[in-house]
């Protein structure tokens, strides 16, 4: 009993971190409606600056020296040598304010009326951007935060016969104080009341003269400050500071925020502390001999705690979870009815076959990666694009199928494998359907909460489910059979005597038979998803996406349809996992990292999450696909900047192209076909005038810069043309966006655009400047 009490108390330190990050999530959500997955990264960047100030008296602004050969202001030396505590804290607070304001004005303000998924994508981009900037500015060396509170331990604390770290208790007290301050801020100040009002009813707040934009901006600043404070206070006990230091805390922090119903600061505090205490208790109990060994040494259960708490909260209070009201929120892109499916299949299949037969080695690998990821993206099309449910567990589900398939195909043979997995040795043609079936079952279980909740809340619980799958299953040798941490070695795929091994000649991953195998499955799944959209089931899905209540009123069984969608999506994701296993030949939990899943969702969104061709484009641009490989092979000197550019690209695309790339490609294709059918000489001449210069300039530059180093001068020229056309397209879109802003500025935009600080406006009739009250 003494030990239980001790380990309860010792978990308060960790709980304090969860609580403070959770509070910052709640504040940002209340002010702007964004569930910010980058909240930990924002805190990380401020705390890095704090350590830099304390050690060298410098700060680094949140960008890099982006003008080669020029000195852009990034590093600012304030004192030559370590800065004392108080000025360093004050400078760090300023940095937190600066970052909060930047995040609002540059990222989320332009996305104010975007769909929830668009905001999720932008927050993922922000996460990657801040991580990359931290790595480039501060380096890889992990840093130890100087303690804010006195260190050391109370020996025999409360007579419990253990030394209790003083910092843990101080951190918990700091979290309580912080919660009190934030609660009072929202309870008693005008700003807080206005923010709460806007969170309840944003339209009402606008009518009362408050500017949601200004409220959101101040909320972002406050959220940034709270997160940074958590980093200062709890950082020393949270371990070494690295660019990815606080990322994994976002799941329990979101759990704490959900306990607080995404609105209550005191409940968020309680939730965070409770999560920390529970993790500590599990760590203690896992050391007991009676603790089930299949729970993987306690890690699995500890990882599952946020999921269990979130599930419990959702079960008990799911209907009460607030969905933040918005002045205007765009829906997901339209899911247009697929046409000319046969033609597209023939064209894409021919292109893939030509590509696969002509290009080998890493290019062939990039093709199969693109196709496998495209299948995964199709699962997002079904669950998110058609039904409107944000699931962040799809990659985890593909992992379930991959590990289970390997187990089913293994037979314990030690030939060429010192760590064999014992299993029934089923043939591939049996193992794949069974593995997919397991993914379907798990997918339905994960989808159960969707019956009661939707939107970002569902995203949070599915993210927690993905994290749990990693520790409960993928990293659990009792379930996977993986020995010695060696990963699960995948038996050679063999379909009725046909060798489908990915390894081709000379060991490269370019076996043409495997490429064709993946292509066939991709086509099958793509056609199935197209037909799904056209079927009665697809129409029910779209009805639910549009309005659940209306769908139910018109006779659609919402619960059943949602679970069918989760099952279908899980099955498709499972198939992609099986193919990924064959391609990699060895799978481990690293293949199915939940944060990687978050990135995949972002790419699915960018490709166009509501259409099959969007999924194909998503696979094309996603990690290790053809497009990234193309860029890497031509811009290898940018190797340290890929993550930064990726993050930046996600943010920009979410802002500039919220419908995804597919609609734009579709429009281009229509234009092209239309041109081929109808254009005559004058039209071609006009097009030549527009596109000719970039084509010529790009071709020449491509040949000059890459002609000697790329695979051939021919390819280099084409590369240059493609890039030049893309740059032209980007320029035109930025120009168009600027034009749109100008139109808003002259009064065409929504009413809120005219509102000043807290609703003050010079233009709005009946609104008094400066105080925002109606007169």
């Amino acid at each position: 009993m003494q030990n239980l009490l001790f380990f309860t108390l010792i978990g308060l330190g960790l709980g304090a971190l969860y609580a403070m990050l959770g509070m910052s999530v709640v504040v940002a959500y209340r002010g702007s409606g964004v569930v910010n997955f980058a909240q930990g990264a924002m805190a990380m960047y401020v705390v890095f600056n704090y350590t830099q100030l304390r050690s060298a008296g410098q700060i680094f602004l949140p960008w890099i020296n982006f003008l080669p050969g020029r000195h852009t202001p990034v590093e600012i030396t304030i004192t030559h040598g370590p800065m004392p505590f108080v000025p360093a804290i004050l400078m760090s607070i300023l940095m937190a304010v600066f970052i909060g304001a930047l995040v609002h004005y540059l990222v989320f303000r332009p996305l104010r009326n975007a769909s929830a998924l668009g905001k999720v994508v932008a927050s993922v981009g922000l996460l990657l951007y801040l991580q990359a900037v931290a790595l480039l500015n501060f380096g890889q060396l992990a840093r130890q935060l100087p303690p804010v509170f006195p260190g050391g331990a109370w020996s025999n604390f409360l007579g419990l016969k253990h030394g209790y770290p003083k910092e843990n208790l101080y951190a918990a007290l700091a979290a309580v104080v912080m919660a009190g301050v934030v609660w009072a801020l929202f309870r008693y100040t005008r700003l807080g009341l206005a923010t709460r009002a806007a969170a309840e009813n944003e339209k009402g707040a606008v009518l009362l003269g408050f500017s949601p934009d200004a409220l959101a901006g101040s909320s972002w600043v406050i959220a940034s400050l709270i997160g940074a404070a958590g980093g200062f206070v709890v950082g020393p006990i949270a371990g070494q500071l690295t660019p990815v230091a606080y990322d994994t805390f976002i799941v329990p922090a979101l759990g704490a925020a959900l306990v607080g119903m995404m609105s209550s600061i005191p409940l968020t505090l309680v939730g965070g502390l409770a999560l920390g205490v529970l993790e500590s208790l599990v760590t203690y109990l896992a050391s007991k001999t009676w603790f089930p060994s299949w729970l993987s040494g306690g890690n699995a259960l500890a990882s599952a705690i946020p999921l269990l708490v979130i599930a419990a909260v959702l079960y008990l209070r799911g209907n009460a979870l607030p969905t933040r009201g918005m002045v205007g929120e765009k829906r997901l892109p339209p899911a247009s009815r697929p046409v000319h499916v046969g033609i597209w299949v023939a064209v894409c299949a021919a292109a893939a076959l030509i590509y696969g037969s002509l290009l080998h080695g890493p290019w062939a690998l990039a093709l199969t990666t693109t196709m496998i990821v495209s299948i995964l993206m199709l699962s997002y099309v079904v669950i998110t694009g058609y039904v409107g449910q944000i699931s962040l567990a799809q990659l985890g589900l593909s992992g379930v199928a991959a590990f289970f398939m390997v187990k089913l195909m293994s037979n314990g043979s030690a030939k060429n494998n010192p760590f064999p997995i014992h299993g029934p040795g089923l043939p591939m043609i049996v193992a794949i359907p069974l593995a997919v079936a397991l993914a379907v079952v798990i997918g339905i279980v994960i989808g159960l909460p969707a019956v009661r909740i939707r939107g970002v809340q569902l995203a949070i619980i599915t993210l927690a489910a993905g994290v749990t799958l990693v520790d409960l299953y993928f990293n659990n040798p009792k379930l996977t059979g993986v020995q010695q941490g060696s990963g699960a070695q995948v038996p050679r795929p063999d379909l009725l005597g046909l060798n489908l091994d990915v390894a081709g000649k000379k060991g490269l991953s370019d076996h043409f038979a495997f490429t064709v195998f993946v292509l066939v499955l991709l086509i099958a799944v793509a056609v199935m998803v197209c037909n799904l959209r056209k079927s009665a089931t697809g129409r029910r899905f779209l009805a639910i996406r549009a309005n659940e209540r209306a769908a139910a009123a018109s006779g659609v069984n919402v619960t059943r349809s949602k679970l069918v969608a989760f099952a279908l999506a899980a099955g498709i994701a499972g198939l992609s996992g099986c193919l990924l296993a064959f391609q990699q030949q060895n799978v481990s939990s690293a293949n199915f990292d939940p944060l990687l899943g978050l990135a995949f969702l972002a790419f699915a969104y960018l490709g166009g999450i509501s259409s099959v061709n969007g999924a194909l484009i998503g696979g094309f641009i996603a990690t290790s696909g053809i497009w990234p490989y193309f860029l890497q092979s031509h811009f290898n000197h940018l190797q340290n900047y890929w993550v930064l550019l990726g993050g930046l690209g996600l943010i920009l695309t979410a802002i500039l192209n919220p419908l995804g790339i597919a609609p734009a490609v579709q429009a281009m294709m229509h234009l092209l076909f239309d041109a081929l059918r109808r254009w005559r000489a004058p039209e071609w001449i006009r097009a030549g005038r527009r596109l000719g210069p970039p084509i010529v300039i790009g071709g020449v530059l491509g040949y000059v810069f890459w002609g000697r180093h790329a695979h051939s001068a021919y390819w280099a020229t084409i590369d240059g043309i493609v890039l030049a056309l893309m740059l032209r397209s980007i320029g035109l879109q930025i120009w168009a966006a600027w034009q749109r802003r100008r139109q808003y500025a002259v009064g065409v935009g929504p009413a809120v655009a005219a509102a000043g600080p807290l609703g003050a406006t010079a233009a709005g009739p009946g609104v008094r400047p400066h105080d925002g009250e109606l007169v």
Partner: protein, 484 residues
Amino acid sequence: MASLAIVMAACSSSSNKSTSATSAAGGTSATSAGATGGAACSSPDTSIDAQEGQYAGWMQAVLNCTAKKPVKATGAPVTIGFINSQGDPNGSFPDVTAGGQATVDYINNELGGIGGDPLKGTPGRPIKLVTCYQTIAPSSSTSCANQVVSQKPVMIFSGYQFFGQVVDPIYAAAGIPVVNFSPITQADFQGKNIYDIAAGGGCVGVHPALISFSVYNLHAKNLAIPWANTPPGVPCYYDLEQKPVEVINGSLTPTPQGVKLVQGLKEKGYPVPPAAPDLSATAAQILAQKPDTIIFSGQASDCFNVMNALANAGWTSQQIPMVLSGACMDTKQIAQAGSKVDGVYFVGSSYNLLDPTSATGLPQQEIQTINTKMKQYQPSQTPTGLEAAMFQTIMTTWLTLQNSPAASDPTASAIGTALQNTSKVHMFAGVPWGCQSAPQNYSSVCSTQVSVLQWTGSKFKTVTKPFDASYIVAGTPLHETGSG
């Protein structure tokens, strides 16, 4: 469409085909000095070979000779792959790349490349590095392996590689030998045509030494072993920490030759998830065990997380000795951690490569060379232990190949054979190594020599001479993975 140009694979991988070294970076007076040849130097003093390993005398003569008369490589380059983890916020090691680049530049510009005779001033062929940088993701590793193998290198230097089990089969199928900078996964320990010639053999060399030093030198009988609960950490604990304890206390038989039994020796393991927040609960459990010694091995940040948690719970190294692996030997981290590190032991590769005073004789001269050439060829890089270790790895490979048939016939098969047949060969700034004497079940681990250092508050003090503790597990069956 617009964003295609800038939307890049987040957390994506690699970039490829940067070549280097034929024309050399660096740029010093030495670079231009020795175009092709000079007067012959004195012949090697082979009398030191018995102590420092085969070709030690030759290496010494080359260092002395080329310091005065550098020899620049000429002719058709020999293509060698270089893969490293870089540019990913989850783990980026540009200093390893810098070490590799500096070494190749040094070899090309001053040592005559591959196949020459620097003692006679005869130039050989320059090395052309085909580089690829990967992120910490299996797909990125696979992509990099394919990119480099498609360039047809004769061998590959692998920097930090966390997914050896994914890429090693690709190298094996292509028949390309791989020299690992730091073996991490089980595939690195047993892979075909994989050679781990430095860094103390990873946990195969270091972990039995952690146990050996704690038991035989510190006379501990009750060990607390927090261990990194990562895929590489699992076998390193179960097979190379828990098993040596079972061997030494006699519960695992037959006892390998030379092992001195210690009755009553026991251990308790505590899984530490990577980058775990707040290890207070784990620290409290460790201290409740009242261990004689605490042992930990993991990435540097985790080492100090464990140490901080223990210190916050009242631990000091004066009360309970702590023995850490060489991966924790990061002087910047130690400086940040402050006085709590005082008295902590570190088991790492044979010498401190940044401190010439940690060795004498030829190794000292070689450590000086490493530090001089790193500054010369990578002036923008602050020298680090990782950079020096990569320098050591490539130099050791080079001197081995130069004294083998592979020098005149640098093909993949010849290089593989040369590395495989090594026995008591001199290690640059290290102690002799050889793949012929690799421990059973760890056929790729060619060097398991380590030594113990102690942090005194301002510098490392050498506690033991280089020693090899892998004999404790030699020939024992691989442990099944337990929970975790």
